[in-house]
Subunit: 517 residues, 2 copies
């Protein structure tokens, strides 16, 4: 299968249907199909060949969606970049991916300029949303595409590489997760099966397309529905878009939905078109479900659990979001295995454990990544015998519901972003006053979890919480920085081997909550 | 992906749910999972290894379903045999497939005996439904499975061969259509996407499992629903089963549903559980839809169009079965491309034609067969540049609806069975009195089409219609024999090249009908 197949089909079954809404831009499927063919022609002229990596640094936009199809159409490989990363991380991603072309939004022109200067492999930089860029020498997408010849689809597909998504790592170095056309297409099919979407879909994109939440793009195209694109999430803009365009579905994380649901102006908008809210990263808090039921009785919820390495293998269906399900504790579950995947809980020797016993969650199925780009050792470490070892701890009940209890990889999920404790600890520890440091996730009604640092200081040294936070801000992306820093005078609890007992540190924060231990 | 994956998942998410109902047999998913493991252990003991072909000659039964999973579990390849074929055809299928083991129902013991005698490669014959068989030396499934050790799943999957389905051929020789685990799994996923099935599924199996209608088995297992199995279709038995077991879905052909709908005893049964009727092989006649709407307002219809070589690439969704759709002529369509497949209409040089123009229907996607078993030449002939050439003629409208206008391969579909004209012509021509012969499909309210032969006789020779029919009955399966034979005294119309103008012969029968020309 190839990603572009959905686009050909959408143009066949709904040529005059509205495909894209972005600001003042409106395109039918026929127009969008033609635009992608031209964009691919332009990319080909710029030297994109089979397996050429194309980095994209952009908020959500019509052209982002266009490039999600035109890059594979031209034979290339997508490298969508998380622009919220700190510069050194971004530079690493662009260099490591071997990108030869960088597409950027004008607001990131300075950044693009620095990347270009740093990386001789980048042959072209192209501004996506302006006639000319502040970056000297940058090409203009609009200008180039207007004079490009449409390219016939190169029909890359199957096990060909489609995209490399970078994700944080325990070692502090981002890892490039390789997805093939097949693995992304299988993610798409899994989603279509679970969500039971039809062509009346009007999908609001509010989560960044550089994430696996680009699934919203794939799904909308697959059913020839309508993409409603906001550059980024802003609660009132989202409410306005739902009203204006009759949005039926949205993918988000609980905190985003909460900010819409409890927005002071919510009553100013008609929101009855909204039928399905998909979410991930953390369970949906019962008080949000309760308020949503009161306000939107027609709205269904569904949770997807997964990771960049294996998107969407576990699904909590709408029927498990009722008040009865809340009372039965089911909304604390991540869900059950989807029809395309197998999920098991295994012990440290990879033997399956009994229902109810905690172990590592492992996943097998066609959505599992092809591996880490240029890192076969790590690939072999996490994919063993066909099973992806997620690093998440959890248990399964006797009806196959999976509950996450801990992240073995020591990862925090805050507002939908993955934060690796060890990476943050590495930065905090470099502060000259810090002696010991442990970074943990603590419960946050708003963010699911928030990043919390517990430190001790060297004898005689002094530092305040805000000094430590500011130190981090200069060195890593804002979303990874501790939201709270606790300075202790007693040494942190350690194992005999000298390892900080993080479970013990976490425990008081998570008492009486079952999601984490 | 592997076929057995669904079974592991069903046992995980619904272990105590009712999996199988057949006569007095009741099994939960846990029991069924264990039964398959034991059956696979037994097959392994009997020498089934990777790629060993296992022929099954049986009506629908619990053990048929068991073997649909245990054969691939043990590493083998399914060869489900159409027991309605004439003996020579059956013998060919068993020999050509290289089957080493034959599983049969006791009612076919004499047949199994003949096959065994004819074919030295068959190492074992095993009766599926009796303690002992009339066939000397036959093993008993029940006896063997009781003492077998469960086998761990061999995990054959992906591009490994899963099954060979034999289908009639224009040359008169059945062709072995190879399906891999992946292609059958993709058929399953396509079905799940289109039909929007959930785990409340109670599926009634009335079409033969040796066909691609075994999809009903795959789907029911994938959602961990309940299989209700009848050995074969009998209208009142089907009505009784729907009532007794709360059946929600059924796959059939229009003629089967018609016989249920217009059954004199229909009022004796509660049928309100029935929600979805999937059908194929021919459009659903409007008068059936009308009566169904009157009697079952809750019932939805959906059509699948496809073939053994590419099951399920086209789908006519429930919304296109309303009275408005009938009035708009949409129910005459075969449907639109499913999200996993691409469909095009091409001319004789494989160029796509304009909407509304008739050409050959070609299909591309993961459901396309791996090829014909031991016939790479024919495989290359029908799969060109990744596109399966269906041999069906048709056109596509501007919204992607596909209408079948003719079967280029000259095939008749009668009551859901494929009949190749050339094969029947070959038999009729062997009758000593017959000079010229053309076999065509003519409209039949009951069967969709029925097989009609038009012949001329040699000068001075004489034969009656019923003599010619009887002659055919001795030589080919009953469903392939002409239901009507027309003896003409004028020579049949021919092309300059001496080819009979079948379109001209068909024309008066199909006047004012749009499905065929």
């Amino acid at each position: 299968m190839e990603l572009t197949q959905s686009l050909h089909r959408a143009c066949q079954i709904n040529p005059d249907g509205l495909a894209i809404v972005y600001g003042q831009v409106r395109r039918t499927w026929r127009e969008f199909h033609a635009a992608v063919a031209s964009s691919a022609g332009m990319l080909r002229q710029l030297g994109v060949r089979e397996d050429t990596k194309v980095a994209i640094v952009s908020m959500n936009s019509d052209r982002f969606v266009e490039c999600l199809y035109s890059v594979p159409w031209a034979g290339g490989v997508l490298v969508p970049v998380n622009f919220r990363l700190q510069f050194e991380e971004l530079a690493y991603v662009v260099e490591h991916s071997e990108a030869e072309l960088i597409l950027f939004e004008e607001q990131f022109s300075a950044l693009a300029g620095e990347l270009l200067q740093r990386n001789p492999r980048l042959r072209h930089a192209m501004v996506m949303d302006a006639e000319r860029s502040a970056l000297p020498g940058a090409l203009s997408y609009g200008h180039e595409v207007a004079r490009a010849m449409p390219l016939p689809d190169t029909r890359r597909g199957g096990s060909d590489l489609a995209a490399i998504f970078y994700t944080g790592g325990t070692t502090g170095v981002p890892k490039g997760v390789m997805h093939t056309h097949d693995s992304l297409f299988q993610f798409l099919l899994t989603f279509l099966i679970c969500e039971r979407i039809d062509s009346s879909l009007v999908h609001l994109h509010v989560t960044p397309m550089f994430h696996m939440s680009c699934i919203g793009v794939l799904v909308t195209t697959a059913v020839a529905g309508t993409h409603i694109i906001l550059p980024k999430f802003e609660p009132e803009e989202a409410l306005r878009a739902i009203d204006a365009h009759g949005v039926t579905t949205c993918l988000s994380v609980p905190v985003m939905f909460e900010r819409m649901l409890f927005h002071p102006n919510i009553d100013a908008y008609h929101l009855s078109s909204l039928r399905m809210l998909g979410y991930g990263a953390s369970p949906m808090p019962p008080r949000i479900l309760e308020e949503a039921r009161r306000r939107f009785p027609q709205l269904q919820f569904a949770q997807g659990y997964g990771m960049t390495e294996a998107p969407g293998p576990v699904y909590l269906a709408p029927e498990y979001h009722s008040q009865e399900a809340v009372d039965a504790g089911l909304t604390r579950a991540a869900g059950r295995a989807v029809p395309t995947c197998e999920v098991r809980i295994v012990d440290s020797e990879d033997h399956e454990v009994e229902p109810g016993s905690v172990g590592e969650i492992v996943i097998r199925g066609p959505v599992v990544m092809a591996g880490y780009w240029k890192n076969p050792e790590l690939t072999r470490e996490v994919i063993r015998d066909g099973w992806l070892h997620t690093g998440d701890g959890g248990y399964m009940d006797s009806a196959g519901f999976i509950y996450i209890t801990d992240r073995i990889k020591d990862m925090i999920i805050s507002g939908g972003e993955n934060v690796y404790s060890t990476e943050v600890e590495g930065v905090v520890s470099r502060h000259p006053a810090v002696a010991q440091c442990a970074v943990i996730g603590i419960p946050s009604e708003q963010w699911g979890e928030s990043v919390h640092a517990i430190v001790t200081l060297h004898d005689g040294a002094s530092a305040t919480s805000s000094e430590i936070t500011a130190f981090c801000r200069e060195r890593i992306a804002a979303y990874k920085c501790p939201r709270s820093v606790e300075i202790r005078t007693q040494p942190l609890p350690m194992t005999a081997a000298g390892k900080i007992l993080k479970a013990q540190l976490r425990e008081p924060f998570w008492a009486n909550r079952s999601r984490r231990i």
